[in-house]
Symmetry: C2
């Protein structure tokens, strides 16, 4: 296996080690993504993580250190018969920080910790301190590119380790009885220490007897320093070389007992499952002469190495592009969440995104306003969107109604409610959208008294009631006044949040409907309605409680009537500056989100204290050049005690 | 031809007339659409229009009155050998008005005019006054449905017109010489009167001699009242019946000379082209006895009829659905224009739409802002849109960038600039869009000094300069500060209108860049720069002249540097409330439209007096429930005399 990279620490007859190859599973990156988005955010401080290695790999595999999904549970279990390795994750916020990290200093710090643990004797008590790793990462979550660089710190002798006896396989050294005894002894050592694998151990064998012990038992176990055998749980599969974990063990031995040890026998303990039963006969055994380290006790950290080479064999980081191997639909889903979650990193840590994304929205009207509201809802990650509309797409629609295209107009035009659903699916396959082609019964629009039309009207009312009761927020986005009446009443009766928007030529209104304060229904409700009503109503931005807000119709002295009869062309078309629907649609959704984030939120009993946000913005008007933006909080004038939208049963 | 409807005005032996059938060509409706949109708008007053009939139709065709494209040029020429008929168009604004129009009164009014012209003698001098029509219409330009009802007013005798001699064809009455003589005489009468067809005329024939004369020459021509022959240019092809135009002529004759005439001979003059030569031998001749009208001179208008039956034979209007026979792409084009033109009907009659729709817009950036700006431009009817962007569509884009869909993200993502162009074509096939995948050279982003990269940078600058010079308005919609610098300078140098928009988390800016006042270059420029600079700068909405406005960089003390280096994920993604880009994009376009409509418009020498419309709207913020809208006219602070954007040559 000449092609496997081997660290050239020594000349001929000098011991060489197979370095670790990092093996990162996709699950690790997915978990890092989640941690970064939800927990770490902008926190760059080092994190404890965990990898593992296995001593039973088939011949040909590199000496792997594996990190998977579970790497972030540093204290969690490792897979059966794998040896855990603790590591430190340095995840940078920027590619620049990743590139400019002081790799030498990071390695030096880890090496010093290992050296300290050798000097203090801690490593003897807990040999896992000898084998550690560092992982420097930068996760580009926009592109799903992950940059990383592993380091497996190893302390170096200034001269090489001399091989006294070339590596031989275990079956050349041990009888099969000894082999079985070694295996049994190792297994019971694992049992004693309660670990899945013991990384380093002591071995003594005479005749058929094979004993093993923990490193900490050195003094009592190694009574004869002329015959010392150490065992290492070895992830390497090369017949002539040990794996990386042996390095720091030999350094420990040299530091502690170097001058007393003429020769050390090393057994690279390698496991394998052959024909159903475990087999350790291919483990290798060799003898070395350890140099005496130059460093005296308490001296500075010895020379160290450890940064992994990249696949080209050069010192440098690696990059993995996960976007290629992800399911595109899942990728879209994560990407959409990404932009939203980033809001919580710096700007609005308290933002409750789940509350927004899980909100079920009913859009009454899939025209200019409906399309823009739906698009903004998608931007906020709302997944459940239902359209109600009875009209078809006409040729003038696509340039103003951003869910439709020219093709949708052909052959008389598709139904808006259904075409809108199709489009949402094309924009984001993870959406849960529904369309209902139906008319909303309207006061002032007489229903003729035939059995069929009466029954249709009744069905429409029932259908609308069902839809409203199944959603959390109702958007009123129709093109007539009177079609807003029935949903207003039903939604009030169901105590749903109603956001209403309507367009003029260069004006628009975006408002939430109020809800009457319900009677106290539990001990938790201690608020006094009279206290909030003492707020100065004259201030434009005073905090008007929701129960003092009216609905669209409270603001108005015109009884609902048929406004579609006898309309001229421009009145039918809602002639409006094209930009207005985008502004009003976007503000309607932003208003909903703001209300949902209020501490008293949508709680049916307390939703009343959120202020009205009805805003009329007069856009840059065409005839006057000044683009004045005038804000009128129209609902200040709307503190009516009785209104259509009182929560009374709907009677028609 | 028993199936052809014939007015049953008389019993057996009583003369019956073939009523007119209205024949409306598609060109008529297209022209009506244009007139309605651009000229009439909400004006319902009666309009003069024009139809024509022809006396040479093949057998089997109904008695047609044709209206085509040219109907609105009431004084224009008619097709060769066709007889023009003047009419009155009543085009209502609403279907309701169409339905409730007082048809009886309309007919009565026209009939009275005819009756008056008979009594006054005007009809004798100008017999075309006898044949008129009314057209009542309602044009539903949203659906391209046209409702209409024709009326061909005819005065009625209280009793029928008795036939004394059954109709015979001309060749049974005239020799071929006489026939030829009649034809020659008629043609020269047309020549004399300068018309393509004379509707009514007098005939005298003895031997081979045939004479014709105008009605006005009755007294001198008809010396013998026992032998009076009148000719009528007859659109009817029935062998036993005359067409409608004869009715009012007979009423005239009866009114004027009824008591003196025992018998009137009528020749229905019918033309036809047979084997290359004209032929009138199938014209019909008959004799009638006219009743004496009951009405004395100056009495009320006689009984009258005239509203056309619909194809079912009932009294009622007709409807034509032109959307089915129009080219869908043209239909889309008209429909898009419709919404825009309607603005001029009532709200902004002075709106100069051509100035908006013909503006060439360059969008630098096809991301969140670019997509929304493009959509709003389409809504305004802008046809020429060019995108510049160097990035590809990623999975997080479609929910916020309304020109892209999930499919566009697959396989590494399409180029935004090109995908945006494709989408615009799908929305509106008539758009003239172009995409350029290129980077904008940025200060602070060093170009490495290889020949290739230097040459690429030089090419990019040249390309950008060319693009800016070819457009009227430049939108800065990029995601970094420094990428806005070079276009700012080039556009200032080219004296283009620059609209700049940038997003924060819950703030945004939409501003126009100022332009230094150029030196006076002609006698027309009499404005005094010092007069406008004396305006109070403290007032938020004072009218700041354009030459006192700065650019994006004048507002800022940060020199352009590389802001893309070392950015954390949230800084890369422009974390922003999703609704903001729609609001800012829409306002950017509305701002452009407002500036274009200013009287001093984009005139390169005078564009400087338009005020700054830089508006920062702080949207409903997430953490505070109050959705306050604060307006800061940031450019008030920006009256710098020197800035980067001075019109100096660009040096790099």
């Amino acid at each position: 296996m000449a092609s496997v990279p081997v660290d050239k620490d020594s000349a001929d007859q000098k011991l060489q080690f197979a370095p670790f190859s990092s093996a990162l599973e996709a699950g690790f990156w997915h978990q890092l993504t989640q941690k970064k988005l939800n927990d770490y955010r902008l926190d760059e401080s080092p994190k404890n993580i965990k990898g593992y290695y296995y001593n039973g790999d088939p011949v040909g595999l590199p000496t792997r250190l594996t990190l998977e999904f579970s790497a972030f549970e540093a204290d969690g279990p490792s897979p059966a018969r794998c040896c855990p390795v603790t590591g430190t994750l340095y995840n940078t916020n920027t590619l620049e920080a990743f590139k400019t990290s002081d790799k030498k200093a990071l390695l030096e710090q880890q090496a010093t910790e290992i050296w300290d643990s050798i000097q203090s004797g801690d490593a003897l008590k807990d040999p896992s301190l000898l084998c550690k790793f560092l992982l420097l990462t930068y996760a580009d979550l926009k592109k799903y590119h992950f940059y990383y660089w592993f380091c497996f710190p190893a302390l170096c002798f200034s001269e090489g380790i001399k091989i006294l006896k070339e590596p031989a396989t275990l079956d050349q050294v041990f009888s099969s009885k000894q082999t079985s005894a070694l295996q049994a002894a190792y297994d019971s050592l694992c049992g004693e220490t309660g670990t899945s694998a013991v990384p380093y151990f002591l071995i003594k064998y005479t005749g058929d007897t094979v004993q093993v012990a923990q490193l900490r038992d050195w003094d009592s176990f190694n009574t004869d320093l002329n015959k010392v055998t150490v065992g290492v749980y070895d992830p390497c599969t090369l017949p002539q070389h040990p794996g990386w974990p042996l390095r720091n063990l030999l350094f420990l031995l040299a530091s502690k007992w170097g001058s007393q040890l003429d020769v050390v026998e090393v057994m690279c303990f390698r496991d394998r499952t052959l024909q159903g039963s475990r087999n350790i006969q291919h483990s290798i055994v060799f003898q070395v002469k350890l140099p005496i380290p130059e460093q005296s006790v308490n001296a500075a950290c010895p020379k160290n190495v450890g940064w992994e080479k990249n696949p080209k064999g050069a010192m440098g980081p690696r990059m993995v592009n996960l976007s290629e191997c992800m399911d595109p639909k899942r990728l879209a889903e994560s990407s959409v969440d990404l932009n939203l979650k980033l809001m919580r990193w710096r700007l609005v840590p308290s933002l409750n995104l789940d509350k927004v994304t899980s909100t079920k929205c009913l859009l009454l009207g899939a025209g200019t306003l409906g399309c823009n509201v739906a698009r903004t809802l998608m931007g906020w990650g709302v997944r459940h969107i239902t359209f109600v509309d009875n009209s078809k797409i006409s040729y003038s629609n696509p340039v103003r109604q951003p869910l439709y295209e020219f093709e949708d107009c052909l052959g008389g035009g598709k139904s808006k409610a259904l075409a809108a659903v199709d489009r949402l699916g094309k924009i984001f396959p993870g959406v849960n959208a529904e369309g209902h082609v139906m008319s909303i019964p309207m006061p002032g629009h007489p229903v003729n008294f035939s059995e069929a039309t009466m029954s249709q009207a009744r069905q429409d009312v029932e259908h609308l009631e069902k839809l409203i009761s199944e959603h959390d927020v109702v958007f009123l986005l129709m093109d007539t006044r009177e079609s807003r009446w029935l949903p207003t009443v039903i939604a009030a009766s169901n105590r749903k949040l109603v956001v209403n928007s309507a367009l003029g030529f260069d004006t628009f209104v975006v408002m939430r409907h109020g809800l009457k304060k319900p009677k106290p229904c539990g001990p938790g409700d201690s608020s006094d309605p009279s206290s909030s009503s003492s707020l100065p109503a004259a201030s434009l931005f005073s905090n008007i409680p929701g129960h003092r807000l009216g609905c669209y119709f409270c603001n108005d002295v015109v009884a609902p009537g048929d406004s579609t009869r006898d309309r001229t062309l421009d009145q039918q078309c809602t002639v409006s500056r094209p930009g207005l629907a985008m502004i009003a649609g976007a503000l309607a959704v932003e208003l909903m989100v703001s209300i949902l984030q209020h501490t008293e939120g949508l709680c049916p009993r307390l939703s009343v204290t959120v202020i009205c946000s009805s805003v009329t913005v007069i856009c840059p008007s065409v005839t006057v050049v000044c683009s004045s933006v005038t804000v009128v909080c129209s609902s200040v004038t709307v503190v009516l005690s009785q209104c259509y939208c009182s929560p009374v049963p709907v009677l028609l």
